[in-house]
Symmetry: C2
Subunit: 545 residues, 2 copies
């Protein structure tokens, strides 16, 4: 990288980071430079629509709509669009990229402009339900409907925004009665940075698991752009939690470790001046973190992702470079642990976003304790791999103290469930994180996990994100058949409902679950849902038989 570029990158950094009190003042610019050096070149592939379809209202279908083929997409070239007014095209698979189309007259010269609405959907319901008035709690602009005026015919138009879709509905909103026209050359220049195809699964693997694996690979590929995105439709950006799971999937499939490296450096370079990581980095128009966006467990999971990266690549240079970041995140635990060894739940909740799952009403006290211990343990292992364990010599005692406190205050020996100290909600999240942290013994874990499905008022996972940790907890407790069953039930459930890519939120009992109170706002190709790729390939004895 030349000096002017380096200077311009420096210019991107918030002013505060240039001041003396910046925790990483000396290294940020270098980290950003290294992140840019790892920026992948996107592979572009031209994709054409496969079929003209209609969306059929069907209460047995996912979100009550299913697509039905009407004609091959090639028919579009020969029909006069003015007679159709609306048409839906199916590209046959989920795509991420830029959409373009051409318009031409089929008789007299065009004497006036055309106006279209293009609505892009990852799933059938998105091109079937009205978007306005929009009850969603995120920006209405995430919804992928674009109104396009074509002033002169013939013309070829590319919609400026990058889109994520399988289906596109085209509505004719304005036309002249004095000429006929049609649409042609509709295409998507699909982009991804995932190029190296993983080895296929052996023929012995069940068809359902092969299908789940393929959908997981599609999901991950679509999210691998110039960063690991959470979802190519929304939010189109790097979140630490998604990075952690995407990197796990990538390790066992595309193995494009430079993308992981880029993301680790970006997050470090754009962390808060206090040294704490911000949960998300927005790449466009210039890379920057979202100020003030502190997410408790994501900051800690960065350490785990860094350790995994080191183990997968042996790249000690990067791990050493970023070790100060991991070391600093430990303070999130250290500064929030009470004398009794429990995390100060209220204090953390005030200063941080504590996430764990999109499920309203989830009580996160036990999960917070468990994840904290999990992160301490993983970070200590990272220190050991780097020969830095003396720098974090307090960790073994701290883990022990926190484990003891959890077992004393949060475990009910009668029921066999971990809960909050006062709040006795029984949740998957609580059991999962007690198991992953090692606070629960494998036997206690097995007891809790076996009892969960039928526990009274149990709080179930609302996302594939938490479900990932559930599968891992089952495996860690030796419940291999249950892990296989849970994976094929849950991700297989999405496959049976027609998923080409796995969804951000999925509750088998509620197709309309939306963290944003409007199901078209959900992302239906979401990075954190790709992890069957990891499980199936990391644990062949469980999943490939």
């Amino acid at each position: 990288m030349n000096k002017p570029l380096l200077a311009s990158l420096l210019g991107l950094l918030p002013l505060a980071t240039c001041l003396a009190q910046d925790y990483y003042a000396d290294t940020r610019a270098l980290w950003l430079q290294k992140a840019e050096q790892c920026k992948p070149v996107l592979t572009l592939t031209e994709k054409r629509p496969q079929h003209i379809v209609e969306m059929v209202k069907d209460t047995t279908a996912f979100q009550h709509y299913r697509s039905a083929q009407v004609a091959p997409a090639a028919c579009l070239d020969t029909i006069s669009f003015g007679d159709k007014k609306e048409i839906i095209l199916d590209f046959g698979k989920h795509l991420t990229g830029h959409f373009s189309f051409a318009v031409r007259t089929t008789g007299l010269a065009a004497d006036g402009p055309l106006r279209f609405r293009f609505t892009f959907g990852e799933v059938p319901s998105e091109v079937s339900v009205p978007f306005d008035p929009c009850p969603g709690t995120l920006s209405r602009a995430w919804l992928q409907d674009e109104v396009v005026t074509v002033m002169h015919v013939p013309d070829t138009i590319t919609i400026p925004r990058r889109l994520a879709f399988r289906y596109v509905k085209i509505e004719l909103l304005g036309y002249s009665p004095y000429y006929q026209f049609n649409l042609h050359d509709l295409k998507c220049m699909a982009s991804t940075s995932a190029t190296a195809l993983p080895a296929p699964l052996p023929d012995t693997t069940s068809p359902l698991i092969r299908r789940i694996d393929q959908v997981g690979l599609n999901t991950l590929k679509e999210c691998m752009q110039t960063v690991y995105e959470d979802g190519p439709k929304r939010d189109q950006r790097l979140w630490i939690g998604d990075l952690y799971l995407e990197a796990l999937g990538n390790m066992h499939s595309y193995q494009q470790h430079d993308l992981t490296k880029r993301c680790l450096y970006l997050l470090a370079a754009l962390s808060d001046t206090t040294g704490y990581l911000l949960a998300t980095v927005i790449e466009q128009p210039v890379p920057r973190a979202q100020d003030g966006q502190f997410l408790f467990e994501y900051a800690l999971l960065y350490n785990v992702a860094l350790k995994d990266y080191l183990e997968a690549t042996g790249d000690r240079t990067t791990a050493k470079d970023l070790w100060p970041v991991a070391k600093k995140q430990l303070d999130i635990v250290r500064t929030n642990v009470l004398p009794n060894g429990l995390m100060d739940y209220d204090k953390v909740n005030k200063a941080w976003w504590v996430f764990f799952d999109w499920r309203e009403g989830l009580h996160k006290e036990a999960a917070m304790q468990g994840l904290s211990v999990f992160a301490l343990r993983e970070t200590y292992q990272l220190a050991q791999l780097l020969g830095c364990e003396k720098e974090v010599a307090d960790l073994p005692a701290l883990m022990k103290k926190m484990t003891k406190a959890a077992r004393k205050y949060l475990y009910d020996r009668t029921t066999g469930f971990f809960t909050g100290m006062d709040n006795k909600q029984i949740s998957y999240a609580s059991q999962i994180w007690m198991i992953l942290s090692g606070i629960a013994t494998p036997e206690e874990g097995r007891r809790a996990l076996a009892a969960l499905p039928s526990a009274p008022d149990v709080c179930r996972p609302g996302t594939p994100y938490l479900y990932h940790y559930y599968i891992q907890a089952l495996i860690d407790c030796g419940m291999e058949q249950e892990a296989r069953q849970a994976l094929t039930d849950y991700w297989g459930g999405m496959v049976r409902k027609g998923a080409d890519t796995f969804w951000e939120a999925y509750d088998p009992d509620n197709d309309f679950l939306s963290p944003y109170y409007f199901h078209p706002m959900n992302s239906y190709c979401h990075a954190w849902s790709c992890t069957p790729v990891y499980f199936i390939r990391k644990y062949p004895d469980i999943f490939q038989k």
Copy 2:
């Protein structure tokens, strides 16, 4: 022009024009080449909004809306747009060009896209009334509302379509609750090919006429792009009728005769294979005429425009070049005149669009007869100027015969009005064209024109287009004071109603008159309305005193 370019221009011509029966087979390509050589370079000027305004419902205002200033536009830089949701800006004058704006955050980094609707209006009502459902009979896409998604902030966006507007309403349709932003650097790169400012009117000219002249100059300037457009909002293209009047205005103001020359060549090059002119040329994406668009009086007025061009410039080369076109148009009259000397009204109406005015119910028989004789006379004068009168030696007798027929069959000596033979409708159009053709004597003309305003069930003009011919008829009859009064009443009426540029349709008694059944679809900067520029400067004794 090099050969490949010439070849490509040849490629633009309809296939039929390349076949042997093409009337102008040998000369079309050359004409197109000459048209391209005269294509003006547009002058671009950056224009900024002047005020934030609100549109006030007011039944005394034009179309029931008037703008009221709220704050200087500079305030926009400092207010957070998310709190406003909607704002209307006034650029202070009518502009034609490309609009751009920039978006920036005012605090936290942008975590999601924005969605806006920009609605551009030439007059206040256009940014005040809903467009949908659109009852207009032309393409809905002419209405200037554009929905824009801004995926990344900060960014600068240029709306792709060229716009014609004074006001822009900005509505916020989608935003994230997690950051604040504002709009800044809003501007229009205004374009025109009219650069040479005409000499100012003398101080003795009345303020109202000075204002009418200025608004006329604005109108003409806005319509002078790479062709004489009819209106920069709609249809954005060359029509012969508009060309004729714009060229008259231009002769007496900007004097950019090359634009007239370009348009005359374009129309000739893209005429029908029969040799008849098509009424309109669409410049984008490549110049072509609208097939089948035969407009009776426009084809004939081409000859008048060519004669006027020759007189204004002395450019005999061009006039000689295009004389075959003018000569051919005479067949429109010759082939449609009955043995009794009247035009075959029904036959012409079947084969041609007979326009004269946007006024429902106008009976056009007398006007057709009058315009035909007018065109024959002007064409004969053109032939005399070029020394070609022997080629059209039949014209004097034909004019005489048609004049006699008109006086015999269409004139009612009792009432003093010209009407159709069976249809006795009294219209301005009939009297006007009988006067301009010389069929009516000046005295008969004066009698008819004086009686028109109070005639029973009189059919009045609906457009400035017909009003132009009305003013000319008054002048030709020596009714100078009435001409001045009519001009100041009619165009002054638009000025009093707030016009910055003159309108396509104007009925002093009906602000909502629309040829397309929806007043926002009207063009409010329309070429054929610019002719006060011509009258005021050609007849200083009448208008500049």
